[in-house]
């Protein structure tokens, strides 16, 4: 279990309960960014939670912040909270001031470009160069939107020729940064699976066919039982990654292994949960006005982000 105790998670829970009811992700996708939600998160310092005090942040515990990320994901958070947290963590490690507003991140390796989550809705991109350890802050004007599975949108960011606003060196390795990013996504994915499971249970408990609620059909029960088992496994994998990250907060490199395990485990279970979730919902779950797709589309997008489960399985097998 990801702990959602502590002040940071509780504040986050309160803000989302107040300012992110189910209409908000819908409106965000229609182009109406929830400025009030974002401003409140920022005013409460949540975007700076992983920034050290000397750089103007709160130096919060890894695990407390992951609890907040869990809560945001369960609300289908339509703002780049996790992305900004990661971006600011990177800046902090390079001794740089946090981003001014909404930010996202990119890991630069041999590729000339990167796919940026939430890329259409952020002001700045923080890149980490895996070869040099350099962190750089780029302006994100005119992002190149891509067709995306995620409701959050994705853009493609080409590194060369872009103006660097500030930059600095870190002693972080690629494994360090991957450990953080993969763990954050694992927590979000596990939270998303559990939220979508909850929606599915509610739906089959209310909907009738053939004079019975759907929940009374053994085929429905067993589909959701399998999905629940995969969702529980995802939460375990995320929790193990989170524990390992918390134990290596100073430099997360040793947490890389558990983070990759979580990526592989959870990535491979996406089909095993999204297929039954959609199936038990029937056509209703396929409509834009219903909430399920806020969860399933994020799962589809996140499993591919930064390499899909097949890629990371090879990496993990090679490291074993």
């Amino acid at each position: 279990m990801i702990s959602t105790d502590g002040m940071i998670a509780e504040t986050t829970a309160r803000i989302y309960a107040d300012l992110c009811p189910r209409e908000v992700p819908h409106r965000a996708e229609a182009g109406e960014f929830p400025q009030g939600l974002w401003d409140t998160l920022a005013e409460n310092g949540l975007t700076l939670a992983w920034v050290s005090e000397e750089n103007g942040g709160f130096g919060a515990e890894v695990s407390e912040v992951l609890g907040a990320i869990w809560i945001a994901a369960q609300a289908a958070s339509p703002v780049p909270l996790a992305e900004t947290l990661i971006a600011n963590w990177l800046l902090d490690r390079a001794g740089l001031a946090p981003a001014e507003g909404r930010a996202s991140f990119a890991i630069q390796s041999h590729l000339a470009s990167a796919e940026i989550p939430f890329g259409g809705a952020v002001d700045q991109i923080v890149s980490f160069d895996a070869r040099s350890g350099e962190v750089a802050l780029f302006d994100n004007r005119e992002p190149h939107a891509m067709e995306a599975l995620s409701p959050d949108g994705v853009t493609r960011f080409v590194f060369s020729g872009k103006k660097v606003e500030r930059s600095g060196l870190t002693n972080l390795s690629q494994h360090s940064v991957e450990a953080l990013v993969l763990t954050v996504r694992a927590v979000q994915m596990a939270a998303t699976m559990e939220a979508a499971l909850g929606l599915s249970i509610d739906y089959v408990s209310a909907r009738e066919q053939f004079g019975r609620t759907l929940s009374k059909f053994q085929a429905i029960q067993h589909q959701l039982a399998v999905a629940a088992s995969e969702s529980a496994a995802a939460t375990m994998a995320a929790t193990q990654a989170a524990s390992s990250l918390a134990a290596h907060a100073a430099d997360p490199a040793p947490a890389w292994h558990e983070a990759v395990i979580a990526k592989v485990q959870i990535g491979h279970s996406v089909e095993a949960v999204t297929v039954p979730f959609h199936q038990v919902h029937g056509a209703m779950g396929y409509t834009q006005e219903y909430d399920l797709h806020h969860y399933t589309r994020r799962l589809w997008a996140w499993r591919d982000e930064g390499g899909n489960e097949h890629h990371w399985s090879r990496v993990l097998g090679g490291a074993a």
Binding site: H110, L111, A112, S113, E115, M146, E147, A148, L149, R156, E208, Q209, F210, G211, F217, A219, I220, E271, V275, H278, Q279, G282, A283, G285, Y286, T287, Q288, E289, L292, H293, T296, R297, W300, D304, G307, N308, H310, H311
Partner: protein
């Protein structure tokens, strides 16, 4: 014993000529930029102009008489046309359902006047039909339809609501399953009839439903005392249930049940070319085997249908296997594409894979859910 009937058909060279002609047409249309290949094109990719082009080439209405604008060809020739359109991911959704389903229905049940009026327009690719089965309270449990048609002087008055009617916003007609008399106690299958409704008639309101992929081909269709003439009743009054289950069985075995994601595989092979690893070759081999096997089953059923036999269970098997294959195909392609960095993917690959994933959920719902398919098979096995 052999439990199911799936004849194996020897290849027919005449059909291969037709296939070559179709491929030539599709290649030149793609080259001209008329369309971009898309998965699930028969449901979600509409282009009336493309449909009209097909109509001009004689590729709609293949099987019916030239007297009604048809082309006097066989069901197997029609099969080749549908197969090539699906393989190409062509924008055929506008006319697909009318050609597949409603034209045969009109031929069987329509008046001479209706046939002369409507069939030539369907064959020309200008007249489209929507299916009117589901209602908010009647999904898998189709016998629960509540939309009523009341007999009045010279026709029927229709009131109620249909939902998930694909294409209704561009269609000219809907054939709806309606309650024309009350259920007989617990037997809800009686008192249902199929009625053709002009979607431009007063009292009809069509409201698109946007789906999670951003497409808006589904619709809610409301009927507020819509008056339709006597000859709108297709088939027998009260015979709707039997007619509908017969049609469903026919549709379930077509190539749209296993070729709808084929373009995804083709796109991946194009991007990977000579970079196929042993793993990707194995994935390809497995898909080739499944596609070939399902094609054999589907084609065998087409042959039976051609002979007037309607094998309900075999069709349910094809649909269930085909749905599994299509989901598997998309996942196998995701795995194959992980062999190359994603900035070496073509833009088309990104697009096709995204569309394929986003359009996949309804596969196992439309035309009968997986649960309904397995129930049909279980009944044939003697388990229920």
């Amino acid at each position: 014993m052999q439990r199911f009937r799936f004849p194996v058909i020897a290849p027919d060279p005449a059909l291969e000529e037709l296939r070559a002609e179709l491929q030539q047409f599709l290649r030149s249309e793609r080259a001209a930029g008329t369309f971009q290949p898309e998965p699930e094109c028969w449901m979600a990719s509409s282009d009336p102009e493309f449909s009209q082009k097909m109509g001009r080439r004689g590729w709609i209405g293949l099987t019916w008489s030239s007297q009604y604008g048809g082309h006097d060809k066989t069901a197997l020739e029609r099969y080749i046309v549908t197969e090539e359109m699906l393989r190409a991911g062509a924008p055929v959704a506008a006319h697909w359902i009318a050609d597949r389903q409603h034209a045969p229905m009109l031929i069987e049940h329509g008046t001479e006047a209706q046939k002369l009026d409507i069939l030539p327009r369907i064959a020309a690719g200008t007249c489209y039909f929507a299916i009117g089965l589901s209602e908010p309270g009647a999904g898998s449990d189709l016998a629960n339809v509540k939309t009523r048609a009341e007999k009045v002087e010279g026709g029927w008055r229709v009131s109620g609501q249909k939902i998930w009617s694909s294409g209704a916003h561009i269609c000219h007609y809907m054939v709806a399953l309606l309650r024309t008399s009350p259920a007989d106690g617990r037997n809800r299958h009686v008192g249902l009839s199929q009625i053709m409704i002009d979607l431009k008639a007063p009292g009809v309101t069509v409201k698109p439903i946007t789906d999670l992929s951003g497409d808006a081909h589904f619709n809610e269709v409301y009927f507020d005392n819509v008056l339709v003439p006597d000859d709108a009743l297709l088939g027998e009054e009260g015979g709707g249930w039997k007619q509908v289950t017969g049609e469903l069985a026919m549709e379930r075995s077509g190539p749209e049940r296993f070729l709808s994601s084929y373009v995804t595989l083709e796109s991946a092979l194009h991007d990977l070319k000579d970079r196929m690893t042993g793993e990707s070759l194995a994935r390809l081999g497995r898909l080739v085997a499944s596609l070939r096997t399902l094609r054999g089953m589907s084609w065998g059923i087409a042959q039976l249908l051609h002979q007037g036999v309607s094998p309900e269970t075999e069709a349910a098997l094809v649909k269930d296997l085909g749905n599994r294959l299509e989901n598997d195909l998309t996942q196998q392609v995701r795995a194959m594409m992980s062999d190359i960095p994603n900035d070496e993917w073509s833009p088309a690959m990104h697009r096709i894979l995204n569309i394929g994933i986003l359009r996949s959920p309804p596969n196992t719902l439309r035309g009968g859910t997986t649960e309904v398919m397995r129930g049909i098979t279980a009944r044939q096995l003697g388990l229920r």
